[in-house]
Symmetry: C2
């Protein structure tokens, strides 16, 4: 294998609701246990057994808002009254150690990361077909009719936004999709810009 790359990869996996981001990312983590998590910050209260800095960084609303103002998040969102965000400094720290970080986020979050960390590797998951996507969205028993209609209505806009990503992977079969994501990770770690140390060491020894 290559010597360690100069800087880690921020791998962003995103896509419309119903494309199966969660399933794909769980399988990817099993195959690549070296992938790091980014611990999110949130304003929701800790649940029993949750520890600050382990499951989440727990912040007050004022603390969270000050961090938004200061540009301390790669992305954040307000989910039903609670803020959730990805702290920039923690991510950069891991990248500087050469670690690869997996972020599984929705299209709005990925759009913010594109602006705040354009060097990330952005993969857009596509469903095998629009019919299958609609079936998956409607099939979620956990959602209200209103929430389903809202998700369906933004599908086309979300698909359009996928054209600004680096790679596209069709999730027709989870393990095949994970194969493709692994190839992308392997290829990205071979990019010249991530391996300038290799050249310098060879020349130094010549």
């Amino acid at each position: 294998m290559q010597t360690k790359i100069d800087r880690g990869i921020l791998l962003v996996i995103s896509g419309s609701s119903g494309t199966g981001k969660g399933t794909v990312c769980n399988s990817l983590r099993k195959r690549r246990p070296d992938l790091e998590y980014s611990i999110s910050a949130t304003t929701r209260s800790p649940r029993a057994g949750e520890t600050d800095g382990v499951e989440y960084f727990f912040l007050t609303r004022d603390e969270f808002k000050r961090k938004i103002e200061a540009g301390d998040f790669l992305e954040y969102a307000d989910n039903y009254g609670n803020f959730y965000g990805t702290p920039r400094d923690k991510v950069l720290e891991l990248l500087n150690l050469g670690k690869t970080i997996l972020l599984e986020i929705d299209v709005q979050g990925a759009h913010q990361v594109q602006k705040n960390y354009p060097d990330g590797v952005f993969i857009f998951l596509l469903p095998p077909s629009i019919e299958e996507l609609k079936r998956r969205i409607i099939g979620r028993n956990s959602e209200t009719e209103e929430s389903i209609q809202k998700r369906l209505s933004i599908v086309n806009d979300e698909l359009e936004s996928g054209k600004s990503y680096n790679y596209v992977v069709v999730n027709d079969e989870v393990e095949r999709a994970v194969d493709e994501i692994c190839a992308i990770l392997d290829a990205e770690s071979l990019k010249v810009g991530r391996n300038l140390n290799l050249f310098d060491e060879l020349v130094k020894n010549s």
Copy 2:
């Protein structure tokens, strides 16, 4: 697998003398028999059994020079008095059909292709060490002392030029290097820009 990509990939594998381009490309072709060849043009005379348009396109020096003037080559070189070149039109024709073409060329040739077809995928092969590279160059019985010294003297410049490529692969073990090149090919064929048809088809059917 993905549906056919919108446009083929021009895969350029290059590197200093002695990095093992030929061995790597032969093994790559065995694993990926779908890789297309580009037939070179040359001013040297056909040998017994060679057919115009099969092994080479055989041109007169005047024809070749007119094509150089017209910008008809992605790259060309004068090797000991004979011209060799890669015809642009034949390569573009195959790329438009969605074919992937492998070009195995020296650093000077790759530099010309970078200028004439910047959308190519440029892989720089590195030797495991400078000592190994020197050993390989000197070990070629087919070369004169003068030719060996010339090759050794340009190694550092050639390594430096590798920093302008897209990917770097260390050829310490041929099959491992080929694994990495296959990952690069897989990842490149998943680039959004090569799959805009996928998005359009999904939206059309929505």
